[in-house]
Chain length 167, copies 2
């Protein structure tokens, strides 16, 4: 898929078929994330891969979007490693770039995905469930699989609301 | 350019030719950013476009990377709009996704770009120079133009250092 097409047509997908995501696809998503930019190249992102149904079920209890979590054959829990961090603001932006690379790679491969943030209200519990080191702070959960729905319509502010000034 | 090729081959470019970036290219970059995802679709990103040499010169005094700023025919100052913000962590990650979309669109068009973060140490001064509303907080400056150098080699952690666990 062409880059700009991917950038403009990626949408959140919240319902998935039961078809598994292949190991090759999973590796490609992580590889795309890996090449995201970060300040001082500190790469503060960490990931837990969840395909097992038992762990997905436990995670689903941590969010009001549990049905999305249960429906997704692949979940990526993304963490900020606070020990690798040098500037929280910059590192969070880098994690956002990492996530976006993964979402774009998923879209390019015909997978659907959604970036779940509401689950952060239970970030400690999720960290415990996934047994991650204490320095790893939950940043997002990505639910990924083959789409079982057409994404709904999406809207964005017009450019003139985003561009404040030109010099 | 193919999406995955773009995701894997984008590198920071820090020296630019004097060739201007066309209005069409600029619009495509902003359009790519516009379609980034954000929590509650709040789109907390704002941009100031800088092509004029006078303003670029003023900005260059705010960072030790002034030569990059002066060399770039196009600068995009990216801001977090704190009035549009609902959760600082999530909004910073969304701004990171916005920036990454712009960097990828630039790469796809044969442009080079670099994400400058060190300039945030002068975020207030930059906000004043660019005369943005007080609720807009500098998040990054992107320097963009046609590459006058081959990007240097880049490295990333191996996947097994990023993936903490699999369930």
């Amino acid at each position: 898929m062409d880059v700009e097409k991917a950038l403009l047509t990626r949408r959140s997908v919240r319902r998935f078929t039961s078809e598994r995501v292949s190991g090759e696809d999973l590796e490609a998503l992580l590889e795309a994330g890996r090449w995201a930019p970060s300040g001082l190249n500190n790469q503060p992102w960490r990931v837990v891969v969840i395909e097992g149904r038992g762990k997905a079920e436990e995670l689903s209890a941590c969010t009001r979007y549990g049905s999305i979590v249960r429906s997704a054959p692949l979940l990526l829990a993304v963490f900020l490693d606070r020990e690798a961090s040098y500037d929280r603001d910059k590192d969070l932006m880098a994690v956002g770039a990492f996530i976006q690379n993964i979402l774009l790679a998923a879209h390019a491969r015909g997978l659907g995905a959604v970036w779940l943030g509401e689950i952060l209200k239970e970030k400690r519990k999720v960290g415990e469930l996934l047994d991650v080191p204490g320095e790893c702070e939950l940043a997002a959960v990505l639910a990924i699989g083959y789409p079982a729905e057409e994404p709904g319509s999406a809207s964005r502010k017009p450019l003139h609301d985003i561009v404040l000034k030109r010099f």
